[in-house]
Symmetry: C2
Subunit: 227 residues, 2 copies
């Protein structure tokens, strides 16, 4: 679809029946459902019910479900906010990453919805703009800066997913046990000696914050031109 009608809520026409809802309301409802029950729970019927409308009324506001998803994404991306750059680009970039992590944790569905989508909503653009501002003191050219930003973003997203898995694994003990049993069996075939050792090591539970911090440091350190 063309980006203009996607991102610019059309000016309310003076004629005709006034709309009973708005993109904002629909987006908020969809986000709430996704937060509470996951992305699969976000169906057009469900969102409609949530705001007390008929299903087809939604289509007055969004062309299709895909559009709604992009609105949802841009909406929550905005929650990351932007702190004024301090001049220390590493520290600022780290702050950006931390903010992203907070958002990704608040909206567990985001990491799942993000890949394979090209969202250029206002909040997404603002984040990108902010990253460029933050990276200005680093001396990177625009292309390098964008690559760096994308690198950090994809790291944070995949790491938050990883964190969640660690946690969820502990939650459903049965499933975990089955996994472990299977892994042990697979591993005892002798084909995966190092994995076997890893499974036997006590799972010294590291502080997630510390792990994230350390990895993030490494990612950011890797960015500096010339190693």
């Amino acid at each position: 679809m063309d980006p203009e009608t996607l991102w610019n809520e059309p000016a309310r026409p003076r004629l005709g029946r006034p709309p009973a809802h708005s993109r904002a309301e629909i987006t908020a409802a969809a986000v709430a459902v996704a937060d509470a029950e996951g992305l699969p729970a976000v169906t057009m019927r469900r969102v409609a019910t949530e705001i007390g409308a008929g299903v087809m009324s939604l289509y007055t506001y969004v062309r299709d479900k895909e559009t709604l998803l992009e609105l949802m994404i841009d909406h929550v991306v905005g929650e990351a906010g932007t702190a004024p750059p301090t001049g220390d680009w590493r520290a600022d970039l780290r702050a950006v990453a931390l903010a992203q992590r907070v958002v990704l944790r608040r909206h567990p569905w985001l990491a799942e919805a993000l890949p394979q989508r090209r969202t250029f909503g206002p909040h997404t653009l603002a984040q990108l703009e902010h990253a460029l501002a933050v990276l200005e003191p680093s001396g990177m050219d625009v292309r390098a800066a964008m690559e760096a930003f994308s690198l950090v973003t994809s790291f944070v997203s995949s790491h938050v997913t990883y964190e969640r898995r660690q946690r969820d694994a502990g939650a459903s003990a049965d499933e975990l046990r089955a996994q472990v049993r299977y892994l042990r069996k697979a591993v005892e075939s002798g084909r995966y000696p190092r994995l076997a050792r890893a499974l036997d090591e006590p799972d010294g539970d590291h502080d997630p914050e510390a792990v994230f911090d350390r990895l993030l440091d490494r990612v950011i350190n890797g960015l500096a031109p010339g190693g």
Copy 2:
């Protein structure tokens, strides 16, 4: 579902009607469809047609579609192969990343299917095992090595997606033009000054291989303990 029945094709029972197909055949057909027409084209009906079977026959071999997807993933993950470690862990890790990139390019749907899935098929385990072997000379402990591997993997996957977008954008010139026109308008609002400058810069087309190499270097450099 329990991992054992997922990954161990049950031994052919001597009794009863002999199966007309196999997991391997079904997986291969599904991968072929996905390669040619994308993941959405992979429906149970389509795969069944492809191997000349009725839809419901598939369910003798895979519990559900999700299972089929995991089989597909593990199948293509295996294509990355494993070269014997040389002792230079940076070089070896780089080779792993390059192999992953090849696979991700050959199967464009993979990057899309991968996230949010916990696949522990034999090939996936073999890749993990190989990564641990490769990283042994680095002195990282197992946990750090796994993190490093996951970091590299997620970088490669997201970068390949990025590369494809760059290419596809050029393909559908109309859509691209619409995007640019919209971006310019959004940007001319004055809210995104740095983005505006980025759009104005001539798009000096860098060699994708060079860009990938450079970024990969940075990621790997970032891994060394102690910056």
